[in-house]
């Protein structure tokens, strides 16, 4: 499957399978959005979105069939993104803890 040379492209069946899965997951996320899940609506929606994004990256974008370093490069974007979110949120969400700042 991840042979370094030769089969560098997935089969057409894999493309159609991913397409069907993406459509099904889209329907699932719309359905789930209307359910009363309390705080879990957004985590579930994000989990579905990440599953869809992973399918697109692995099959449509051939990450599964590419050298590992390509995957590492792309994974680094997630690391930078987490740094961006965590530091920004640790500022904004902790501001109300101090009496000197009120929004």
């Amino acid at each position: 499957m991840s042979a370094p040379d030769g089969h560098r492209h997935p089969t057409l069946a894999a493309y159609f399978g991913v397409f069907a899965a993406l459509m099904a997951l889209t329907a699932l996320t719309v359905w789930a959005a209307f359910q009363h899940l309390g705080i879990w609506n957004t985590p579930l929606a994000l989990a579905i979105a990440m599953t869809k994004a992973t399918l697109v990256a692995l099959i449509f974008m051939h990450l599964l069939y590419s050298p590992k370093r390509t995957a590492i490069v792309f994974a680094s974007s997630v690391m930078w993104l987490v740094i961006l979110f965590v530091i920004t949120l640790s500022d904004y969400l902790s501001r109300s803890w101090l009496p000197i700042y009120t929004r």
Binding site: Y15, M23, K52, F60, W80, L81
Partner: protein
């Protein structure tokens, strides 16, 4: 090509730059470069997602209420259109890897058509927002029963979907360029990197929408 005077035949060899050992190495370098560009794109959009997270955390009720004013049917339809366009793009890349000229052109045209449908639906959605005075600015009217921070949601909605749409427009331009080159017979089994790299770009834009759709259209539906 440094030694143009040797008049190499128009084929595999002529596409190999002298600083690469083989066509495979050249292809891998090109693809890695595109992925590195996509990393910068993740962070480009990431700034907007960070703004979205902060304001949604601060003004949850305004965001949920304003989100429910978006047209879910059009949003879901566009999601399906974009996923289908990703499939046709993947097929174009597959056809290019086989060097099948007519199939490449067919799938590229299908991808352009689907991308244009997406943009057309976006125009309809934007038009509705203008008519309902939901566009941030002097003519914005706070929707009934919502906190005034609903305007922040619509600012983010237009910035995020606007930047995404701009990427789609650029994508359609790239696809047009690919069709012209494919008609000329540029892409073969040995050389098809432009199709493959444009494919990576197109799929990436699809991934951005995969996150925009639930975050913008679906976040408040459970409160209905």
């Amino acid at each position: 090509m440094a030694d143009a005077h040797t008049a190499a035949p128009h084929g595999a060899r002529s596409h190999l730059r002298h600083h690469f050992a083989s066509l495979d190495a050249q292809k891998e370098a090109a693809s890695l470069g595109m992925w590195a560009f996509l990393v910068t794109e993740v962070l480009f959009f990431g700034g907007m997602f960070a703004a979205y997270i902060v304001y949604r955390a601060l003004f949850t009720r305004a965001f949920e209420g304003a989100s429910n004013l978006l047209d879910l049917k059009l949003g879901a339809f566009n999601t399906a259109v974009l996923i289908l366009s990703s499939l046709t793009m993947a097929m174009a890349v597959w056809a290019a890897s086989q060097g099948r000229k007519n199939l490449i052109i067919l799938f590229l045209i299908l991808t352009i058509v689907l991308g244009s449908v997406f943009l057309g639906v976006k125009v309809i959605e934007y038009k509705q927002k203008f008519e309902h005075h939901e566009v941030p600015g002097p003519h914005f009217v706070v929707p009934e029963g919502l906190p005034r921070q609903a305007e922040i949601f619509f600012s983010l909605y237009f910035c995020m979907t606007g930047l995404h749409a701009l990427h789609m427009v650029i994508g359609v331009g790239l696809l047009t360029w690919l069709i012209l080159r494919a008609r000329r017979g540029d892409f073969t089994v040995a050389y098809n990197s432009p199709v493959e790299l444009t494919g990576l770009y197109w799929h990436f834009v699809d991934i951005i929408w995969i996150f925009l759709f639930p975050l913008l259209y679906l976040l408040g539906r459970h409160t209905l």
